[in-house]
């Protein structure tokens, strides 16, 4: 039996091509069942996310499976033989799947969302009866591989975007963010994204101060926060734990002179300052104040870059780990179906 994979991803196709071939959620399972009725395809599974559309199939011959999958896709969305598509037969198809579930093929290296998406796709196909012995075994193995990769390597370590670095730092300072108050100075897009990331972690309240009050009110309404007049931000400061600056001011808005007396009213609570503005909103010397931790856009980006570098260094370790599982799965596949009544002990990787 062969495992094949025909698909496209963000590596091979731009978004306008990916969206043309995307399979809607409600059609994923029925399409997979339909695929199994094509000559040459025994089992099938379809994964369709914003970054990839992939058809997996178990077949006696990979050429027949390729023809069947191509015909199936062509009938629905157009010619799949264009450059945007890739085709893998075993063992490369198996290796590809293991890399995908482990986040090695993702746009953000090491991200874990893909694992959930693959599990969902598998559950849909399995529930519809489109998968059988081979794809069941393959995907269960794939999920184990993803877990092993995550546990035994640093591929998911650290945060790799400015927003997520800010959230991680906030959690290293305050622990749970449920009691934290956030203040945004300057209602820009970047500050909105960062505050959104913090809000997703359950911060208690968000204040928005902007030179144009209407814009502050608009963003505050969107985020479920409270708008305040820009000149009055210091009045609400005693409650604030995380201060985000992203104004268009040519001079620092938050200076040592202004912040030092305000810090005295905070009763030793730390203050996390996130400066997303260029020119910067915070005077650099603010970081020297007791209990103040200032990160500008460059320092956040550097941390994200370092985390990404760590992840990239881990790729080779992940590939080695995956290769071992590919070989083991290949052996299982080559052994073929077991005669009834025989017993074969589990290999280590199949546990």
């Amino acid at each position: 039996m062969e495992i094949v994979c025909l698909g496209l991803s963000h590596h091979t196709a731009p978004v306008e091509v990916r969206e043309r071939f995307a399979v809607p959620d409600h059609a994923v399972a029925t399409s997979a069942v339909e695929l199994t009725r094509q000559p040459g395809v025994v089992e099938a599974l379809i994964v369709s996310t914003c970054n990839r559309v992939e058809y997996y199939a178990a077949a006696e011959k990979s050429d027949d499976a390729y023809d069947a999958l191509s015909r199936f896709i062509a009938a629905r969305a157009g010619d799949p033989t264009a450059d945007a598509f890739f085709f893998h037969a075993s063992p490369r198809s198996v290796q590809h799947l293991f890399r995908v579930v482990s986040g090695l093929d993702s746009m953000v290296l090491g991200e874990t969302e893909i694992l959930g998406q693959m599990k969902k796709a598998y559950q849909a196909a399995h529930a519809a009866g489109a998968t059988g012995r081979h794809l069941n075994k393959l995907f269960q193995r794939a999920f184990n591989v993803a877990k092993e990769v995550r546990t035994n390597t640093n591929i998911t370590r650290g945060s790799v975007s400015v927003g997520s670095v800010a959230v991680e730092l906030a959690e290293r300072i305050f622990g749970r963010l449920a009691e934290c108050h956030v203040m945004i100075l300057g209602a820009g897009e970047t500050s909105e994204l960062t505050a959104g990331a913090l809000q997703a972690r359950g911060v208690k309240a968000i204040f928005v101060a902007n030179r144009t009050y209407d814009r502050a009110a608009e963003l505050a309404a969107k985020m479920g926060g409270r708008a305040i007049h820009f000149d009055e931000w210091a009045a609400d400061f005693h409650e604030v734990d995380i201060l985000i600056g992203s104004t268009a001011s040519p001079h620092p808005v938050v200076t040592v002179e202004k912040l030092a007396p305000l810090m005295r009213s905070r009763q030793d609570r730390p203050l996390f300052c996130i400066d997303l503005a260029v020119p910067r909103d915070f005077e650099a010397a603010v970081n020297d104040l007791e209990g103040v931790y200032l990160y500008d856009i460059d320092s956040l980006q550097q941390i994200a870059d370092r985390s990404m570098a760590v992840r990239q260094q881990e790729v080779i370790v992940c590939e080695q780990l995956i290769e071992r599982h590919v070989v083991e799965f290949g052996q299982w596949l080559a052994a073929g179906p077991r005669p009834p009544g025989t017993f074969r002990p589990q290999t280590e990787g199949a546990k």
Binding site: T151, T153, N154, F174, N287, S299, Q302
Partner: protein, 264 residues
Amino acid sequence: MDRLFLVASTFCFLLGFACSMHALGARVYRRSRLNLFAIAGGFGFQTAFLYLRGEVIGRCPLTNLFEVFIFLAWAMVLFYLLIGPAYRLSLLGVFTSPLVFVLQSAALLVPGLDKSVPAKIVVNAWMELHAAVSILAYGAFALAGIAGVMYLLQERQLKTHHLRSIFFHLPPIHDLAVANRRLILTGFLLLTVGIAAGFAVGGLASHLVKITWSVGVWALYGFILVAENLHRLSPRRGAWLSVVALAVVLSTLWGIRFIDQGTV
């Protein structure tokens, strides 16, 4: 027989320390359960030692410097086991194990520390209370010092933006500040009881050096507490002071016992 328990306990803490160092040095950090088991095992052996020793001498085993070291180490581990899970300070074990290991190794290896004491001497309940509660207080202060070290490590990384591997495994800095403050408060209250019990024993003139020292330590920690509560001392300075105070206590304990030849 009791020393065998102590040797076993010391090896447990060495194992716990080695596990923690291995986990921290490994390419991928994984929280080691073995460390917790080693510390719990070490604590069990410590408790067995103290129980047996107490049975033999017929009183709280705090009759010489050897026993003081072991009791202090036991108190530190007790506080670690009590507050570690509450504050998710699993890494506290990484820092506690080596200190306990050093204390117990010193107790075992330095000759003449374990001087035999007269069996079944007259037991004074105030004296027992004074000694036991005071050492428990020092155990809490030791843990506060360790939490202080962790705070300073985390604080430095946050300030300089150089986040090393350990940064991702240390507890949040705010939690460390709270743990540090509460441990100091716990130790201070225990020491207050210990000193009060010491005054109740009487015979103050013969232990003047030790009394002065104890009151000095009490005043030092009292100052940290008051200054922190009045917000005159930042968490960072509080952490520094708790580390310095611990160093002072540990480095002078020996000398004070030497000068003050009487039992605790």
